[in-house]
Symmetry: C2
């Protein structure tokens, strides 16, 4: 492959759209670029693939190197390869969608990135490359998958209340939901277990805490 012009010279990167729900918003994790092109601008975490690693391995490695985030939900999103999308030449990127619970939100910069920070998806800065479009694609995927999978629990800590589940759905989908119907439909999924413990946080009745019966798994429902 690639020896002496036999095949077109192309580079491949992965870029990761990491979402998290906190502060009553859907947020995405960005890094400030530490090198050209677009030095100083915000961009998705990501980078060039190594010769001996798989695509998902690359995404996990870059995410950890650039933001310190690891061990989270990750799925392939889409590949972007418009010829002019990178000023350095022909770079094709395989984008990944990742979700992180709000209790694991403490990014730090590293390697190519000067720093990593969360931004509300409706309040993004100017971004490098075609990263606005990649984030939009990721957001569509997330909204769609809320409707037919248990992906939302990947945005919650290990223990959570049903109201927290509802809040995640409402923020991502952008509309209010009926409390009784929502709780019925979530419990009907049959993927939760009552922990028996309650969380008291404020001057009101404490809420029952639930956890995933099979943590880390996402299933398609319907």
């Amino acid at each position: 492959m690639g020896e002496s012009g036999k095949y077109p010279v192309v580079s491949v990167t992965t870029d990761i759209v990491v979402f998290s729900v906190f502060g009553a918003k859907l947020n995405v994790l960005l890094i400030e670029r530490g090198r050209e092109p677009f030095i100083g601008q915000w961009a998705l975490p990501g980078g060039f693939i190594h010769s001996d690693e798989g695509l998902e391995d690359c995404a996990r490695r870059e995410l950890k190197e650039e933001t310190g985030v690891s061990g989270i939900y990750l799925e392939q999103l889409f590949s972007f390869g418009a010829p002019e999308r990178d000023p350095r030449g022909r770079v094709i990127t395989v984008a990944y969608l990742a979700l992180v619970p709000p209790d694991r939100v403490s990014p730090r910069g590293g390697s190519d990135a000067r720093r990593a920070e969360w931004f509300g998806v409706d309040d993004l800065p100017r971004l490098a490359f075609d990263h606005h479009g990649i984030i939009a694609t990721g957001r569509e995927r997330l909204i769609a998958k809320l409707g037919y999978s248990t992906i939302a629990f990947q945005l919650l800590p290990q223990e959570f209340t049903l109201s927290e589940v509802q809040t995640v759905h409402e923020i991502v989908r952008g509309r209010r939901l009926d409390k009784r119907n929502f709780r019925k439909s979530i419990l009907a999924l049959d993927v939760l277990r009552e922990t028996g413990r309650r969380r008291a946080e404020g001057s009101h009745r404490p809420a029952m805490l639930y956890e995933l019966a099979h943590p880390g798994t996402v299933v398609i429902v319907r």
Copy 2:
């Protein structure tokens, strides 16, 4: 990009899973490889990306060059990049899903391919690379999308009967459907138009012919 070892040397291909329903089967279009590796074996149509073309452009070009098929429905499927998937070195492929109506099924070989032929998806020969897995992924996508989009009409000629629509669904999903319920649900999509013409083919009542109100468009329903 790729200048003098600055970034890993990688090649990128597209491969196309072309499905068509005819002969009471779901079929996939394969080519016989005309060069190493896997010379003489069957494989998906596809090939290396050019430096100035987009991913989908590449898929359409390779499909036309290798099989003569063009102007059909095409969507990105998934990217495959396991380090050992190609004996030539590091080759990442962006797979596409394509659908062709049965009246446009007449492939011819060309360029890298000696010949192109249709195979039933349950009766595939030994395939080059990881192409069995790519076809399986395409088949899952097709089955899933039948349920929430109007993609099935891309497997039908410009004019078709409702029975033909039903047959496509039954073959792809692998089970019989109720005629009355099926027709109701298809017409409720509100994407078809009666042509007013009928097709008489056999010693029975002729069937009304329908066409897409907006040909070539696939919409998400539900």
